[in-house]
Symmetry: C2
Subunit: 380 residues, 2 copies
């Protein structure tokens, strides 16, 4: 049997990476070896540079998915008697609430509608109302719907009230502009397999050094103790425990390509072109995005599912996959949706092609009614 | 510049993997896709089969290094008021003691000399002396020195006293024989990047289903909650959080090669031949292993460092690496040593070659006195 090309992943990660990135995994590296540890050191420097962190910030990488690094940041940085405000407009915000509960950190779960951004005003009001809140954990791009939250406003509110800000920038880092000099925060969490276009398997926390250095003994877990990982890595240049060496090597080559492309501004330009090409093409088929344009991050787009009785997501997914494109299910609780990612080693041409694949799938499934009913759109 | 071949890793992991295993990472996989989740399911089945776990045991994979899975097993399976006995004859045993302290689990740190195995008699005495011990956490092969602990004896002692046994089989699983029917345990922890010869980035716990299912709400951490990972995976076939897709795909292909080679008995035969070829060759140069043959696992060999004043490990390491072989530092506290691994996609020919490389390094460094002094050997 001749195997076709791999399908293109239009998902929030893992995503389609370049062949050059994957080829970096064709070597084995010793985790004690200086050559490997120089790779780790260069990644740490480069990601701090992306947010203009200078000498005040450091990067601590951690094995596992991005969620592991989010938990590690909360567990290491929030004192055991701290209290965390989570403006919650989606699944990834809800996950941080759950982490706080596991870790026994007091948490304020501040409901924000799924189709509206967290803003400085919302956070300002919550901080004014509860002076016992010590930290705000803000998801930058809430991938549940594809929402761009107002990180700048939230940062200003935290600064005005003297509270600590931890940013979950999992799906925005390296694509959306984040400059810690203009948008102060204490820590930011991201991962290898998102907009840096590496493969999944490690996350990292970019954190104010002086803060991290004050957090010895605070973590709830040995594996998740970012302070211990930091101290060991500074002393030895090595990871504490076996690193995912191939993932690290791939991330190095992915960052090389990020820099060659022109860094964050050029990556944002490509993703923005992907996003508008996708939305325009899907609109011609009758699809409508769930979010308003002003709050739509160019990372992943949530579309209303067709109200046609012939539609079901599983068949729609499988038939579009067979045409070469992997979509993603919706993650909203009230409205039936599906999602299409704009990130990864893909360009506007792939976006035109996925629209064609979706069009063919609609025909094959006999779906005629694509545009959402007025009721469905209002429910959103 | 022409880049030479990658050096061979003679370390306890990451280790040298086959090209076929690495080539499995040249595809991107969607973590929601059925094709990927079928890979996960097949790995889970195959590793349970290796210990003859039948339907009573399940495998729960976890992102991160093997240590993450060790912590997850302790945190999920040991009740918060439980008490863990750790027979401690090396660095990996000491790490479990440290995990218990982080997690607030009572722990008995039972010192066993680094050159002597943990035995059933030692554990039996400890369990008789302290009826409040609920669990024994036993490292099977303690890689700190390369020691083979007496898992059979420890298992019998646990059964006799009705205590729960958790086995850290990180460096022994799939190479040394472990049959849960003959050597009962409640849970066993291993990882992708050891004797299965995959790449590092995930671990797994093979655990008695009925036990795991009774442990909802026990874990200290969301990321490390094996029960939650299990329930979600059983329900959806998916990992809870982004899996290291390329690492998982590589492990699948690595297990294929493990089965094609003839499974655990054939792998043990190859590693045993590697180990004896290494020890015989090094003996001709004057090197002596730290451990007695009866307790030497065919996984990694600790050698006494040459007492010659011209020796220093860093130069020895670098000059041998430049000849194509990556060794590993010693991890003992009292005696100066270095280690050479016998595991990975290597055979006796590589072992002969590393001995040649070491011989050339000795000449280049001007080392004449290789055999340890009687005093050093006695100190061990």
């Amino acid at each position: 049997m001749i195997r076709g090309n791999d399908p293109i992943l239009l998902t929030p990660g893992p995503l389609t990476t370049s062949l050059r990135t994957k080829q970096a995994m064709l070597s084995d590296w010793g985790s004690w070896d200086a050559a490997f540890n120089a790779v780790t050191a260069s990644i740490r420097r480069d990601v701090v540079e992306i947010i203009n962190g200078g000498d005040d910030y450091t990067c601590v990488p951690l094995q596992g998915s991005g969620t592991f690094s989010v938990e590690a940041a909360i567990g290491t940085l929030v004192p055991r008697d701290g209290k965390v405000l989570v403006p919650n407009n989606g699944a990834y915000c809800a996950r941080i609430v759950r982490i706080c509960k596991y870790l026994g950190r007091a948490v304020v779960d501040l409901a924000v509608p799924e189709d509206q951004p967290a803003t400085g005003a919302i956070v300002d009001a919550a901080l004014s109302a509860d002076p016992s809140i010590t930290h705000v954990a803000q998801v930058h791009c809430e991938t549940g719907a594809g929402m761009l939250n107002d990180l700048g406003g939230v940062s200003r509110a935290c600064s005005a009230h003297g509270r600590s800000l931890i940013v979950d920038a999992m799906s925005s880092f390296a694509a959306l502009p984040i400059d810690v000099r203009a948008t102060p925060f204490d820590a930011l969490v991201a991962a290898s397999g998102k907009c840096l276009e590496g493969v999944p398997g490690m996350g990292f926390v970019i954190v104010k050094k002086s803060l991290l250095e004050s957090r010895a003994g605070n973590a709830h877990s040995l594996a998740m103790d970012m302070h211990d990982q930091y101290v060991y890595m500074e002393k030895t240049t090595q990871w504490r425990y076996t690193p995912p060496t191939h993932v690290v090597a791939a991330l190095r080559v992915a960052i090389d390509q990020f820099l060659e492309e022109g860094g964050q501004t050029k990556r944002l330009a490509r993703y923005s072109a992907n996003c508008s090409t996708l939305i325009d093409g899907m609109a011609k088929l009758g699809f409508r995005p769930f979010l308003k344009p002003a709050t739509q991050a160019p990372i992943i787009v949530t579309f209303h599912a067709p109200p046609d009785p012939a539609y079901d997501f599983k068949s729609f997914y499988e038939m579009t996959r067979d045409r070469g494109y992997i979509l993603y299910p919706g993650k909203l609780t009230q409205v039936e949706t599906f999602r299409v990612g704009c990130i990864g080693a893909v360009d506007a041409n792939e976006m035109r092609n996925v629209v064609s694949a979706v069009e063919q799938t609609l025909v094959a499934m006999g779906i005629r009614q694509v545009a959402p009913s007025a009721a469905a759109r209002k429910a959103a």
